[in-house]
Symmetry: D3
Subunit: 289 residues, 6 copies
């Protein structure tokens, strides 16, 4: 299976230059950061392709769950400073206000690159091996489930290049792990965090011995999710994201309004029947969503 | 003491068919899920009785702290699908909109069943042994302190029956444990989480060897809370719940407005006096609240 | 270095009676709770001096990071009940409403004592040894990074003296550690939490063998922070605090608006240059902020 | 019709002592404040009966719209100070904190008396003649549509009896009329506002010559509302109340989630058909909701 | 000028079938609803073209202000029920949940059609003559400034076709006019509101005798806006929209962060100089934004 | 009385150079913008003195209500561009980020100048004659009640000098008047609004023939407020400001928590007694607050 995933990466039909998109198993989409020779650094093309890619996945009824990983030796070295320096650092304008205006437009565009991951109603599992630096942390904190290898490490690198991280880490990292002291330490000192601390702090929920084991684990977990009712799964993701940003009372109100229609799915009957017959959800066929 | 709790469960005067309510020690109310032959599954009666029960506790000055546990072999198997299927799954209406309207009313009513736990100003300790499935997770996340036995396990079961959990888990679970990746994994895969992970993730704050040890521990902790000023304890719960759903600045503002009157209690003088005399808070008698 | 820190504490020029303020290394401010003979209990003077002290630090371009610690045997015994009893407990007024009004003014003033720590844009590392009780917990939860010694312990003491904690613990503790069950247990039972649990729960991000090791560690971490671009560091703190109290979307919007000007700093070029030359950020000289 | 409404007020079956409830026309419920000899002052019974009455209306599929008015010479003199003084002003408790706690419970209960009006999904038209004082303003600002007679006047009376209005006026009045300066003036000086200013400020949307004309107008308007699809009407009220308390983006999100089921009503086809045939909505028969 | 606007409407190069876009004067974009033979009813194409059109305007530095109006006899008859019925009313899905999911996607897409107007940082003046019905009200409430002719009328028509308005009216109308009673009456009864009431209620800020006078007035106002610093104008719009949805304190914080760069524009010096020389802002040339 | 107010303005003891502070009647503080020869333009001193002045008033138990007006021919010409240009427009910094940082500090400081008005719990009546331009609008929208003379006019002037208003107008103006279209028109075109439109739009609640009449009216209204219970009056202001920035449910919760102590004032009994004896509130003597 892993081979299938890797080989499909070189699919000649992929419309992307920085991503390899494949279907390793039914209903599972694999998105691979695919500039291994550049350590999957995020260049100008990447920032657009991610948006296009996830909007497509969001609309594709044949895709029910996404696995994101990196080709080559590491997950990602983060932003490709050389390639995008012009966008951000040499932005022009007739005066400071106009330069600021243009920079803001760029930041907003770049933020959207990772926000599409959480707007996509299909769950996104990210599988991280080796280095995950700078923009990589922004990316993985926007995913739903984080897995890593024993040799993985994470670095909120931005202060090292003179700026406050502005495409998601400062907003999402504190909401994905429970220790505020650790979040602050990582963001203010740019120190590396290794797999064990990533696990104990809750950044990742599982650590695997190596990339092969992790990819197998990611696919298996994706398979579990893909086998369940897409009405249930996608409703769960939408409401988990919603509840993160709202009070419990607000979240409950939204949930009730959501489910007043979503409970009217045949999936409930099919699933309940299977449950009562002690069958696995995997034995049930659900309509696409 | 445990025996007292168990025997009182069979009190002939209990007005409930699904709950056994007793007073194992002064100021402590014990609420036991009490359909052991049905694995404490939540049937139609349960959803109403919880509301009635906790509203009564909220108004009872003789009750200062609550312990919730399950009778029999497990904490709860969750929703009693057979009994309530009609309520939710076979809701009728003249058209889809009207059916949705009726379903929404039911969901809102069911949500209230657990929200009463956090609206009740008395702290609620929940002691979980064996399985805690589906609606059980909704219930325990609405409690203030979670304890479990070594053999306990938790399962966010809803996706397995084709729906997104809608009576609290998706709203509260992310706010009671720090690892977002874990929350998402549990809710999207319906996998079981055992006691050790429940402890390391922070879902429970203590694990006990068995149910007897846990009940003793729960009662001891309840005793600590019951011995302290009810003005202090209940004000603490109210403001902890408030601050979960508000910014720090909002929480501080509310707290100041709360305490401008609550500091004018004799309990402060009594407690301070005891503290200065190196006496335990337990030696002080506080008026009821 | 430690000696320098200690000796400077006795600086004759310090304008404070409860704090010793020194500069142990370039750009680092050390604020020491300095009433060791009173176990650093927070007396009336303390509540004002903290505000004055942190407002000064906030405005001082020569200070880029703050270390807070306690002189003597413990970090702090918390509020000095004897000294401030009059302020809070014997507040007068012509009737209950007027008394309440006056109490509220006092609480609001006391809350500000710790809120200045998070309003100060310079990161604040707090180093805790021995006891950290009551008001001490309010203080440390308002700091950005928490370190402690192996012999440290924490106690949310307020319920023991008959009141709900009202200067920050109930608002900030749940946002700095991930286990809600633990937060509630600590606040409702006033039990002590020791260093190991403080680490595993995420309250502190590092535990040191003793105070000397901790102070050396704190200074080293402060040095790492002080060496980086103050535009990056202070922007990071400001936005981390902002994002705690806002949804992800709100946080991203604010961040983009913040960085549209902040990216126009020479620090980015200087830092990027150093990074490309594989030099440490410490080799770069940044203008003051 | 008016006579029908009045006579039905004396219906022997009414379960209320302070309210007369009748059905002046199909699907219209008329709730009359009915202690004319006491100028419809709000006594202890009133505060409970309102809750019971509106909860019943909310659940009654035969009621689609509500008209509220006052029997006798004026709409209401407000709170019945004599009758409820004990509840609020002579609340007891063992100390100030406990007294405060009890007072708070009473206020919360009284607030609910008017909040039920906006929680009821059926639109509520209030028709005001003569004086509308104190608690009367709290009541009418919780209604959806306000009509008055030329001789009506409004008075936010609470400062005159030494307290800040606490059952809704300070929260709702600023959200129902556009001039903040006027709101503040009314609440701080307790001056009377007459019908013309009530109309020009937008507090009421129509002024009628006398009570008979107003009641006829109210019934006619109620008829218009009752004739339309209850799915459309009640969804409109629910979302108007929701949007008042949320940002536009939040409101739109909720609306989309609401209507994803509600558009699946036969009422749309029926209504659209009638519209295309140039028939009045009144010619269509809708199922109950 | 009016002629210029009309003739340009028929520009052969317009990429839109439902909109005519022209430049009646420097920096002013005129967007005309242009299906006069269909009473400018909003058909399927319209919902997409609006998004495309306003995104283009947002990015066009030569456009500083927008005027929206309707070609032909009326502003708009609202939604083109015939054309879009399929989208919304005959949405298909394998079960109710899937149908709901698809309907929701459509509603969200349609909501975006008007939200682009307020996301566009250039001010949008809407000039309304004759009927403005249903979707027309959704559209105009998303614009910044509303003008109308003496013969204009407005109708929140949705309840007449069996649904709650779901593309903006229920969210925005209460925030653009001050009388909540009037808003509710309009939305619940679908009655027409004529120009005089539109003016006195604040829905429009000016009423003109006829369309020619209104278009001249709109263009003149647009000219005033276009002549001023685009940094000032667009910053004003962005912050007015922001402050509508936030508390005053939040709005001030955002504003300060916005202006820390925007004040560094040459426009301030140029404008201040002109002001001191008693020259009109129109005499100053500002760089594009 | 007016003479008293004017003469007291020249009080030799006033600590301010831009404000004249006097006590025209018991419990009433009159704050006069007092640089008539400079048309009360807001210079550097003004921005500090306002803060000092209102903080003093907030703490002064002898002051229960404030009247603000302008000495000389007009209310205020707004910001004194000459005097403060250096602060804002010539802010220095080693790079753009540092300049932005410094500008932000200045804006925040200036915002506080008007925010103190609403943080002061005593109601503030502002009486405006002649021109009220730029910063003047920021000031008056932060006051509670606005009165003006027939010759008054208002101008949101900021776009004319190349900037978006950043000290309160864009945040507060939309919340004090009901017509959003008018707010936007005023802010985007900088056109003047005269007294009649100020009245009809609700910006002011009363218009007087001339300044003498207005000052008499302001004093009379201030007298009404000053005569009432300060517990009631100040609680009303605090909660009106709170409810502006919160949902109705949040506002009610805060109100209940506020009044649980504030109802325990002797003022209620004194006021109720007076009311029952048909005496004016003015006949009652209340303790200071």
């Amino acid at each position: 299976v892993i081979r299938a995933m890797s080989s499909s990466s070189s699919s000649p039909t992929s419309p992307y230059t920085t991503l390899a998109v494949s279907r390793p198993a039914e209903s599972i989409t694999h998105v691979e950061l695919n500039r291994p020779e550049k350590r999957n650094a995020m260049n100008r093309a990447f920032w657009s392709e991610m948006v296009e890619c996830f909007n497509e996945i969001a609309a594709d009824p044949d895709s029910r769950v996404v696995v994101v990983s990196g080709a080559g030796k590491i997950f990602t070295a983060g932003i490709d400073l050389m390639d995008i320096a012009g966008d951000v650092l040499q932005t022009d304008g007739d005066d400071t206000a106009r330069t600021s205006w243009n920079i803001r437009n760029t930041i907003v565009k770049y933020q959207e690159t990772f926000s599409v991951i959480e707007k996509c109603p299909k769950p996104v599992i990210v599988a991280i091996h080796g280095a995950c630096v700078g923009g990589g942390v922004d990316l993985v904190t926007a995913c739903d489930i984080r897995l890593c290898t024993q040799d993985a490490w994470f670095q909120v690198k931005e202060v090292d290049i003179g700026l406050a991280a502005d495409v998601g880490t400062l907003q999402r990292l504190p909401k994905v792990i429970g220790s505020r002291s650790l979040v602050n330490e990582l963001a203010l000192t740019a120190r590396k965090m290794y797999a064990d601390e990533a696990k104990s702090s809750g950044l990742v929920s599982r650590v695997f011995a190596d990339k092969d084991a992790m990819m197998a684990g990611a696919l298996e977990m994706a398979g579990e999710i893909a086998a369940r009712s897409p009405v249930a799964i996608q409703g769960t993701k939408v409401n988990l994201v919603y509840s993160r940003d709202h009070s419990v009372a607000e979240g409950l109100n939204y949930m009730a309004t959501w489910n007043m229609s979503m409970l009217q799915t045949h999936d409930v009957m099919k699933s309940a029947q299977a449950a009562m017959e002690k069958k696995s959800p995997k034995s049930v066929t659900f309509s696409k969503l």
